[in-house]
Symmetry: C2
DNA sequence: ATAGTCTCTGTGTGCGCACACAAATATACA
DNA sequence: TGTATATTTGTGTGCGCACACAGAGACTAT
């Protein structure tokens, strides 16, 4: 009764094999210095019995300090990347006793060069990190560094979005196409006779659709082509640092097209457009936005935004770090592609997502 | 560089206080046998510095085996409670090295007596468990046992639903009222001119609304009263073990009311109604259902069900067990009321919830 | 004064493992 | 055969902690 299944220890294996614990330790960690014969003998015993090392004891005895670097855009307060950072810190806290350190390096979201600079710092320091977690915003630049990390044999984890060409230890993020597709469905879910909508983005049309937001837009358009061919889609481009210009642009757009009945923006800065709609009391325009930010939730609650689509950024980051610890410390298989649920948030359920 | 912040150990505290490690250990665990003076001295040092014990080393050294009992309805394959069980097992696995054992006891979902029997077994054995996790399906019976556990000083955790009158260590579940409310909103989200709907349930109308499903129904009705007063709501009662009778009942109901445009069922056995709609090709009836079961997902995918509302049962159970380990092993504060997110599932996002 | 009893405190061992080091054995070469 | 050198194996210590036990004082009763 109440007895725990008898744990097999290294010493047990040693006894079975007629060697000392030290030798078993050597084969377990591939430390070499073991004759072929004894290694085979120990291996066969290991295959036979179900030895499950006590990783806590292991961590306790080990002197190894793990350093994982995260390379992410600057976290403006209340913004998306702050949630990512929160997840990183939570993972670090949890792994504190395993001697895990997470170092966060920042770059300018709108400057590929600064991303490269950050990566150079991370990889170029005296001692290279044991793993790198990054958000591959820029395909070409990122590929340069993933290649470099593969040469250096440093595993890396993608969060947010992923690059087909790379081979990360793991990826945690949303299926951007599908989240865009769903956004369109929700936009049209109330009245399918919406015949003119506007969508907004923060980047130039000319840019290669290498990142999440561009792919979301593709998904969105794909839904419309399939189910709402007759609907006309207008596009507006927002500036990252000039709110007044943005307001003027939207004002003009909506004035020239009073028959716009719906709108969507695929970035976490949904509040930029929602704020405009609220200010000018455009209740007749139904809106879909992205990401669970305080500033967006406000507009969901007052019904400016009908639905928010969220992607659990904190969990992405947390799981990203955990992927490293699973790999290095707990010796678990890590699943490579991990799509996060595409959460649908409304006035009615938002409250219960706030602390998750 | 790469140095971990210096960890404070018991020995450090002992040195600071001018005593031995054993004495510090005594005050840390309230084991007594320490003079008031030294205890105060050590306490003040503890308050001053931020001592964070290494719980892994602690568990390694400790001989204590924790036994947590779970009392849940029988798990039929592919059913709701199987997901709960899955979460229990996952938690047990994860806590294996902390000498945690989770024992699952089952009762008949439709028999309060069998619930009482199970609880008697759990609490009446030679050695009482360290904690009990239960689903309080029956208010009166449950209250008898929560009182008993409080007398025995055995902490308990609620999952699924909760009782206001009890004082559990923690609760993990959905806000049933709100999930019902949201169900109604989604049912009417496409066309607000739906004027007749049918809702189904597995229990008698006479029963006190003590459990989740009844409260969901209240939330559902509340939405209608607020936003769809003109809509007529018909009710059908299903039998738990007579599918043919159910089919006949539904057949009659829909034949007599061909103008029914929507339907909902608040139990995880959504498939019981969805199967009927599919069989008789009643595509004109929009349906809302509950819970992420394989059998329900099928009907979501083929569009018989428009939305499924889910509540992460596996996570409820997992977190329920973790509440005990946080309390006993990691000495963390446990938040008492924990509402799970009310997930909205559609054809477009269901895929990404399947493995979560 | 001595033995007995309490209260309080220090010491030692082991949890399961990693890792440095010592020891034993095998191999080379003169 | 002996010595030097690899190769292989065993041993010991400590990670941070829990807990049993031994030991030191203080105090009482005889």
């Amino acid at each position: 009764m109440n007895s725990i299944p008898q744990k097999i220890k290294i010493k047990d294996i040693a006894e079975k094999a007629g060697v000392s614990a030290g030798t078993v330790d050597r084969v377990l960690h591939n430390r070499g210095n073991v004759s072929d014969e004894t290694r085979r003998r120990i291996q066969s015993i290991l295959n036979e019995i179900n030895y499950r090392p006590n990783h806590y004891a292991s961590a306790l005895a080990s002197k190894k300090v793990f350093v994982f670097c995260a390379v992410i855009p600057n976290c403006e307060p209340g913004g998306y990347w702050e949630l990512i950072e929160k997840g990183l810190l939570r993972a670090e806290q949890e792994l504190y006793d395993f001697k895990v350190v997470v170092k966060v390096h920042y770059f300018d979201q709108y400057s590929p060069t600064s991303f490269a600079d950050a990566m150079d710092v991370v990889l170029g320091q005296g001692s290279a990190p044991d793993g790198v977690l990054l958000a591959p915003l820029y395909r070409p630049k990122t590929l340069i560094y993933t290649k470099k990390m593969e040469e250096m044999e440093i595993p890396y984890v993608f969060i947010d979005s992923r690059l087909e060409e790379a081979n990360p230890l793991a990826f945690y993020g949303q299926d951007s196409f599908q989240s865009g597709y769903l956004g369109a469905k929700l936009l049209f879910s109330q009245h399918s006779d919406v015949d003119k909508i506007a969508i907004f983005s923060f980047f130039d049309t000319g840019q290669t659709p290498s990142n999440q937001i561009a792919i979301r837009m593709e998904g969105f358009k794909s839904y419309i082509e399939k189910n709402q061919q007759s609907c006309k889609v207008l596009r507006g481009t927002l500036s990252a640092d000039d709110p007044e210009e943005n307001e003027a642009m939207m004002k003009k757009l909506f004035a020239e097209n009073p028959d716009i009945k719906g709108t969507a923006i695929f970035s976490s800065r949904t509040y930029a457009v929602a704020g405009f709609l609220e200010k000018y009391k455009m209740n007749h325009v139904r809106m879909i936005g992205y990401d669970l930010l305080e500033k967006n939730v406000e507009y969901l609650k007052n019904n400016t935004v009908s639905y928010l689509i969220a992607q659990r950024p904190e969990e992405q980051a947390y799981k990203g770090v955990k992927a490293f610890s699973d790999h290095f410390i707990f010796k678990k298989e890590v699943q490579q592609i991990n799509y996060m649920p595409i959460d649908i948030l409304t006035q009615e359920n938002i409250e219960f997502y706030m602390e998750f």
